[in-house]
Symmetry: C2
Subunit: 240 residues, 2 copies
DNA sequence: GTCCCGCAATGGTGTTACCTTTCGACCCCA
DNA sequence: TGGGGTCGAAAGGTAACACCATTGCGGGAC
């Protein structure tokens, strides 16, 4: 996640307008002008233009002569852009964004675990087992903050070990989801034993190269997530 | 996929540098200067700067005073940015990109089909069945070009009907993969009957709201894809 | 009254020139 | 050898300009 954006003048402008668009304060079809941006933020035309170009490259706006800078419909946003994800998570679209991301996790992480079982390096294999054990220790002692950090490390490691750079690119986003989930109070005070088992099962399968099993174990693990997300409106397809 | 980029001067510069970076001709750590870009492409400083900003926002470069524009390591690229995907597909990284995208498809499409079974509108349900039937007709008559178009429409429809905008955003990319796969000669001259059945199974499950079944049917369908991709180095986890 | 044509206002596009700020490299001296 | 200070390269930012694609309005013809 780009922590940047506050050193340069662009940062503030980009942040403000990006938020307003993703938040819906600026509706699709609304138009801005460079002059308006200059006035509003007290920046030069150059800065306004460069900011606009970035917004354009994220699909949030288009720029046309004579007409100005037009806010685009959500359908044309680069919804995988970390900044767009971030803005949506920070604003009122949070629940919808969290739901989308959780579905994405449920889709991707099992495959990633399977691939990791195949491609992980020796160090990664030992590390994943260590993390599984660490999670059990921290979980049983109820050290939630440390547990969260280790959990993030666990999922990040698998995504990175998958050998698929698109999966790996989701690591930051998964971290945000995990933190967000905890902050929203969707996690039990003490991790349930099933979750601890599930992590260890994944770790064991990955480290021993059993990719079918790794995939399945990760699916089990995420089953818990599905349930925990239910209050947010995520459907639980447990019956047909 | 953005057709844009050729009207404005930025387009050409962005395209050229973006390609060179994703292609590896410009290695991580290499530096450019604005002046260099101006000279090379015969553009003004403004255009060079705006282009650089876009590249920066895609994670391909960073810009620091006194140092210049530094090419970033692939790990910090926005690998979900359609342009990055496009450049990688067009260049020598094509196979790796196709492999990543195919894994992503295998991860996402079953979930998307399941979600579509739940969320699709009445029109979408009838349309998916129509498309399934159309695929059979075209497939049996060996009309490959039309088959491809219908296939793309089929997968696009499911991704859009999933109610998850991140899944929907992958529609363009999936379309590119399907086209690329055909161009690479990975498709049989005439679609195999199993594939036709699989599409119809998915369509039936989606239209009747059986999301478990829709998910499973899509997994079956993608099993064929897995096999077809094998020559590209995608592993077939059929045994453990 | 309606339709079409043309003109003028608007606002992005691209260029140039200029000043400011930062920080890496190099040199000098201890 | 190494610490610190100076210099200058290159981005950051501002300003003012010519240019031109739109578009929307107004006027004239029918």
């Amino acid at each position: 996640m780009s922590r940047a954006g506050f050193e340069s003048r662009h940062g503030a402008v980009l942040e403000a307008i990006g938020r307003e668009i993703t938040e819906g304060e600026l509706a699709p079809g609304d138009t801005l002008t460079l002059e308006g941006m200059q006035g509003r933020f007290g920046v030069s035309r150059t800065v306004a233009r460069e900011t606009m170009r970035i917004l354009e490259s994220m699909g949030l706006v288009t720029s046309r002569r004579r007409v100005g800078i037009t806010v685009q419909d959500a359908a044309s946003w680069n919804v995988f852009d970390p900044r767009v994800i971030w803005w949506r998570l920070a604003g009122s679209g949070r629940d919808a964004q969290l739901r989308s991301l959780t579905e994405l996790r449920i889709a991707v992480e099992p495959l990633a675990a399977g691939a990791a079982a195949y491609y992980a390096s020796a160090e990664q294999r030992t590390r994943i087992v260590e993390l599984g054990a660490r999670l059990r220790g921290l979980g049983e002692r109820g050290l939630l903050a440390d547990f969260l950090d280790a959990d993030i490390a666990f999922h990040t490691l698998l995504l990175e070990a998958s050998g698929n750079e698109m999966f790996a690119a989701l690591a930051d986003v998964v971290a945000v989801v995990l933190r967000g989930r905890t902050r929203l109070g969707l996690m039990p005070q003490q991790p349930v034993p099933e979750a601890l088992d599930a992590h260890e099962n994944v770790a064991a399968a990955v480290s021993s190269g059993q990719y079918r099993k790794a995939e399945e174990a990760m699916r089990d693990l995420l089953g818990e997530v599905r349930d925990a997300m239910a209050p947010l409106g995520v459907d639980d397809p447990s019956l047909d």
